[in-house]
Amino acid sequence: MTWGVSKLTVRFGHTVALSNVSMEFEPGTVHAVVGGDGAGKTTLLRIAAGIGLPHEGSVHLPGPGRISYVPPDGGVFADLTVDENMQFIADAYKLADWQARADELLDRSAIAEFGGRLAGKLSGGQRRKLAGSMGLLPMPDLLVLDEVTTGVDPVSRMDLWRLIAAAAAGGAAVLVATSYLDEAERAGRVLLLHDGAVLASGSPDEVRAAMKGTVTDVAEPEDPATAWRMGRRWRQWLPDGVSGGPVTLEDVAIVSELQTNRGAR
């Protein structure tokens, strides 16, 4: 059975948090779920983490104890030490012979020297790396990380991506939510979400190739309604353009949102 969600719709009262979202969670692959606030990233990741929310559609997940979830801004116990946090996960997942792996994870995260420090006393980046290490400790089949790199400095971000990539290289399906497109460029597969709906999905190359029209770097916009600033210059989307320059995932995300807004009018 393939893991993933199919035709998933989630409502909170009158608000549609997710609308008809389908996504496979492929083993050995990093999936980036990209969108701004209110896009539905957290709802999708909570469903993927097996947290029961009423929904329509189907959800296929690995069995109990085979999923790790790191929530946004959390995932560590502030009043336990770094080592105690790892111990807690080992106990919760009933892990045997975990100490060497815990040491290795903390070492790679560059937080091994803080083993006796309370997690609440770590820097933001260190806390996120501890949360990531805790997520990886049980060697889950599915690793779900919500905004784990948000607000994290570039050096810690590199450490975190090393952990993320190592989990995928070890065969796990990894889901990473982010609002930054440059982060999404690092993933094997990308899902662009906006207002609960999927704007685009596939490998970064597929997502770029599927964009309608062209985006060109120009000094003055031809049509300001479909242009945006890039430094002193502009990026101009031409829906019927045929020959444009290279396109980034950021361009695709902006164009997809523009298309959605046009459709709504």
Binding site: D153, M158, A169, S179, L181, R186, A253
Partner: protein
């Protein structure tokens, strides 16, 4: 007069040097990105520019003078947490701020004028920007101004920022995200309190390179190279190794019995920050 001149500025807290002999200037109409790791000294430097903290050595000049209340009125500042009253409407926030600044002009909100707490983050960010710019500041200081919003929402914010710059304002944007840094005219890269590189993006990256490994089996290549304290990361299905010569990466892969396309490629800004930090 330059809107901002930072002249040999050092700031110590006890034995800790947060900012170490930093120099830079911003011209009117220029957008400068201040980038670096957390703990790089960005926040301390901004506090000194805002006149909230005295340098231990060197001096900060705003419009040619020491930061005083008078000069501070010429600044618009948007902190990371936005500094809005969540239980007031957007217009009430703007009116309140206008009065505090003694400004006769109250900015306009474009759309939904409900309580700030009920707004999307994109709307909150645009409201905070409107509040910080309604007194027509000549210097704007913005801390990760587009963090967390949708890509289209981000373009609207950058359109607003650029419009201010083209109207003559100097803009300082503090960030550690490439999506924001690439919008600046010029970057100042800080690490451990010092400026380690400055210039346009290409100048910052300079001739720094990383080793990129491409194979059908990125996972095997990654597992083989993911040892010790090596700086290693992933870009799609490419494995990238920082701060190590191509030969040593090639040798290690050969030992692991893996065939791969191995080449030296220019570093990204993220990778540059890591390389200059280590």
């Amino acid at each position: 007069m330059k809107p901002v001149s930072v002249l040999g500025v050092t700031r110590q807290f006890g034995d800790f040097t947060a900012v170490d002999n930093v120099d830079f200037e911003i011209d009117p109409g220029e957008v400068v990105g201040l980038v670096g790791a957390n703990g790089a000294g960005k926040t301390t430097l901004i506090r000194m520019i805002l006149g909230l903290l005295e340098p231990t050595a060197g001096s900060v000049r705003l419009f040619g003078k020491a930061p005083s209340r008078e000069e501070r009125r010429r600044i618009g500042y948007v902190p990371q947490n936005l500094g809005l009253y969540r239980d007031l409407t957007a217009t009430e926030n703007l009116e309140f701020r206008a009065e505090a600044f003694g400004s006769h002009h109250v900015g306009r909100v474009e759309e939904f004028d409900g309580l700030v707490g009920d707004m999307s983050l994109g709307m909150q960010r645009r409201t905070a920007f409107a509040a910080a710019t309604q007194h027509d500041p000549e210097l704007l200081v913005l801390d990760e101004p587009t963090s967390g919003v949708s890509p289209l929402s981000r373009t609207r914010l950058w359109n607003m920022i650029r419009e201010r710059a083209e109207g003559g304002a100097a803009v300082l944007v503090s960030t550690h995200y490439m999506d924001e840094a690439e919008q600046a005219d010029r970057l100042v890269l800080m690490s451990r309190g010092k400026v380690v590189a400055a210039g346009v993006l290409d100048e910052i990256i300079g001739d720094l390179t990383v080793v990129e490994v491409n194979t059908e089996h990125w996972d095997i290549a990654f597992a083989a190279l993911d040892t010790g304290s090596r700086l290693i990361t992933l870009a799609g299905t490419s494995v990238r190794v920082l701060g190590e010569p191509l030969d040593s990466v090639a040798n290690e892969l050969r030992t692991a019995g893996l065939e791969a396309d191995i080449r030296t490629v220019p570093a990204t800004l993220d990778e540059t920050m890591v390389l200059l930090d280590s």
